[in-house]
Symmetry: C2
Subunit: 548 residues, 2 copies
Amino acid sequence: MDHLDHLVRSGWTRAGAADADLPAHASRWLAARTGLRPASTPVAPGSVAPVPDSALPAAVRAVLGSIVGAEHVLVESPDRLARAGGLSYLDLLRRRGAGDLAVPDAVVVPADPAEVVRVLAACAEHGVAVVPFGGGTSVVGGVSALRGGFDSVIALDLARLDRLVSVDPVSRLAVFQAGVPAPVAERLLARHGFTLGHFPQSYERATIGGFAATRSSGQASAGYGRFEDMVAGVRVATPRGDWRLGTAPASAAGPDLRRLVVGSEGAFGVITEVTLRVRPKPVVSRHEGFVLDGWEAGAEAVRALTQEDVRGAVTRLSDPEETEVGFTMNGGWKTRAVRAYLRARGVREPCLLVIGWEASSAAALRAKRAATLKVLRGAVRLGRPVGEAWRRGRFSGPRQRDALMDAGVCVETLETAAHWSGLSALRTAVTAALTGSLTRDGRRPVVACHISHTYETGASLYFTVLVPRDPADPVGQWQRAKHAASTAITTLGTITHHHAVGVDHAPYLSAEIGDLGVDVLRAVKAELDPAGVLNPGKLIPGPATAPR
Amino acid sequence: MDHLDHLVRSGWTRAGAADADLPAHASRWLAARTGLRPASTPVAPGSVAPVPDSALPAAVRAVLGSIVGAEHVLVESPDRLARAGGLSYLDLLRRRGAGDLAVPDAVVVPADPAEVVRVLAACAEHGVAVVPFGGGTSVVGGVSALRGGFDSVIALDLARLDRLVSVDPVSRLAVFQAGVPAPVAERLLARHGFTLGHFPQSYERATIGGFAATRSSGQASAGYGRFEDMVAGVRVATPRGDWRLGTAPASAAGPDLRRLVVGSEGAFGVITEVTLRVRPKPVVSRHEGFVLDGWEAGAEAVRALTQEDVRGAVTRLSDPEETEVGFTMNGGWKTRAVRAYLRARGVREPCLLVIGWEASSAAALRAKRAATLKVLRGAVRLGRPVGEAWRRGRFSGPRQRDALMDAGVCVETLETAAHWSGLSALRTAVTAALTGSLTRDGRRPVVACHISHTYETGASLYFTVLVPRDPADPVGQWQRAKHAASTAITTLGTITHHHAVGVDHAPYLSAEIGDLGVDVLRAVKAELDPAGVLNPGKLIPGPATAPR
């Protein structure tokens, strides 16, 4: 259970993590900027959510035990609580006692893909809902233990599918079982000289299968592509049997059904193996910070870097608000020096741009950097310390969130993407929607934004929200803000760039893919999962519901 | 009708085309190499296929006329014959009187996407099969006028959907109607300084919609990607209404349903508009020829170029047999000089490698070329004349085929792809299967192969077959060879890399995507096309049938 103890305790942070505390200067700044009152909300002492008795019938438990071994059907409260949802702000609130936490009736831990198929067949036969569970890092309700119309629900934990099945160094392919956590995958690949290059903020806990099921995208997507671009093949357990896809590097053999599995979020089947394109591990890397004056100049620079194909593997632009938050949260004399340096150069609205290059040799890195700098002539260079500071802290966002919640802050992120010509309008609309919804009763939200994934035709926008929690209605406070943002997004962008649909985005899906698109998803699900036991309530929208 | 007159006449060639004749030295070489006897088969005088009376009921014709205008419902024989199938060897044989040619009962030519939706609804209501028709260049039976279980079938000709709808130069996106032929698309884009960079051998006649429906891949795929990689959005007419997909440069909003439409070959709906990523038109290009000694050395070189990311936009390797055919078909003193040059350098099994670089400046091209040459140290350079000769002739294959058929040659191509580690085994197996099937009664086939599309994880293989036609059973001769090759392919690669499924590959699809995959395709079709009128007999396999 150790690898999920943070979920039992109600946050991301491991006990004793060094970067988990909120510095005093950050608290002071939040108070001044957002109206946060230190005493407004007590710190929750870990999870206070109640765990109901298991509703799994003993006979079904016995059947599942006969497949995976009785010792791999877990029904103790801590085991079940650890798979009771993911890590969205609402999930964390539920663990702190606000809102209803759905707890699975049992945790089933199969040993291999064949056992997964048999578990699904048994659950379909006995009418038990199945929630596939990898690292538990969903921030959209993707692993909430919803039972749909069924009497019981299991979490299907893929932790024992933990093998690197094979490596083909000539074709640069590696086959992983779905439950392999990302850092383990990197360690296993490193022995062969390879890397996936997939480093989302969830990297420390997320799994290979989860990346594929949710169309994940990592911080180095500019260099390595989205996770879906790495997927050469998939093996999927369905209630109707085992399904394998992906026999060649490219094909015209009808629609690419791999792309129907990738992003299916456990609603069509459970991904048990993924064949991934791998790349030689880079020998050198270098991260630097730059500043552009104003959002438009920054976005134009990032577009030019992308369309001229001279980005770094990491290319990340913060808007003025996020840049300000970053400066402030870091604090200290270095920040003051940077501010003075920028003022002296006439920069009025600093936008931080972090570029990270990787290469197989120092000479190759120099050449890449030179090509980038040629396009970035108008930027102020902050050099390596700023870039390396970003690199060191690149997985710490989730940890800071626990401390912020302890301090009474509503802290959440959301993301979208749009084509370049509509990107700034989208940022403006989402910022206005979130700000409008969250500004009340003296609370003044911080709505910060960055671009961290760029494409020839457009880019992602990632929003971070900080606002004092509404003690009277913490759940409704965020639900209303999320709905306002999502409504703005559906007319100008995609409802999610890399967080997936889960429960939270399902009501907005038909606006994006059409009623016909939703009908197609339903038809595919009905074909592969006729009993409807797979991850009910996720991905495919039910009747639309307005938030409270 | 003019743009399809070649189909009425039974081949690809426009009347009077300069490159349509078979040179005398080529005929002599074919006689010696394959056993071709000049008098064995008379030249067919254009199409001799009978055109039956139209079976479309007058009432339905009136309904369709009320939607598109009576003058856009064509029932004259030449109009119908021009949409009676595509350009596979079997199609051409049928037009020459061997085998049954399916002729549509009418040709319906709608003006816009809305009319397409209404035509489909009417056909669904009245039980009329619909075969979407673009450039008519399918080589897998994709536009054969099959009626499935219905009494009549129309060809839905998209020629009037001929507009460039919009260009977004900032996002580098262009929206085309589906019927725009590729050369027209390039001319329209060139006014804005852009190109698609999509140049398959069918380029001169194929359409944007056809490219998307079949997962096309062009000769410059190394530089511009496969067509599916260019598709940012699609608009699809279905019997249930209009469907639009693609709102952002990337998304995690469930499975990428664009990828379910791309490659659906008219079985789910009719693609009416495609939003495409475009790129600045290159300013300079340069094609050069190289020779490597033996297939393995050649494939290794191409793999290295690809995995080190220093390919040209065109990267194309011929095996020894194709290299020999190329030398011989060109003939003349230049070939003799090249042979002597290679012998002097100790090359025993010449494999021609053509590299085509493109860039925005001469300096950029020099840098790209230098990076390529660094990896190609072991190759013999043949210089620009060989490369430019390939470039000039790059669309002439289909034309040469008409002359070869006139001379009594069975000439056809097929293609597949595999990961690098299995590529040579696949080439060996397919070559053996084709050679074994076609060697009889003194006929000795030429089976030539090239790699023309490469990926980090593997490459395509494209086979060209030349063998004297069996006058007693020309259709069965090829069907047996194709079945032998397809059987070899299904265990080692994909049944098609860029020709699509159509009729010809449908029997082999379940071996590749599984019975569950076929069931999913059927479920999607049933959802979008409940009456089953859309392109019956294509893509989705019926019961398996062995060839004669």
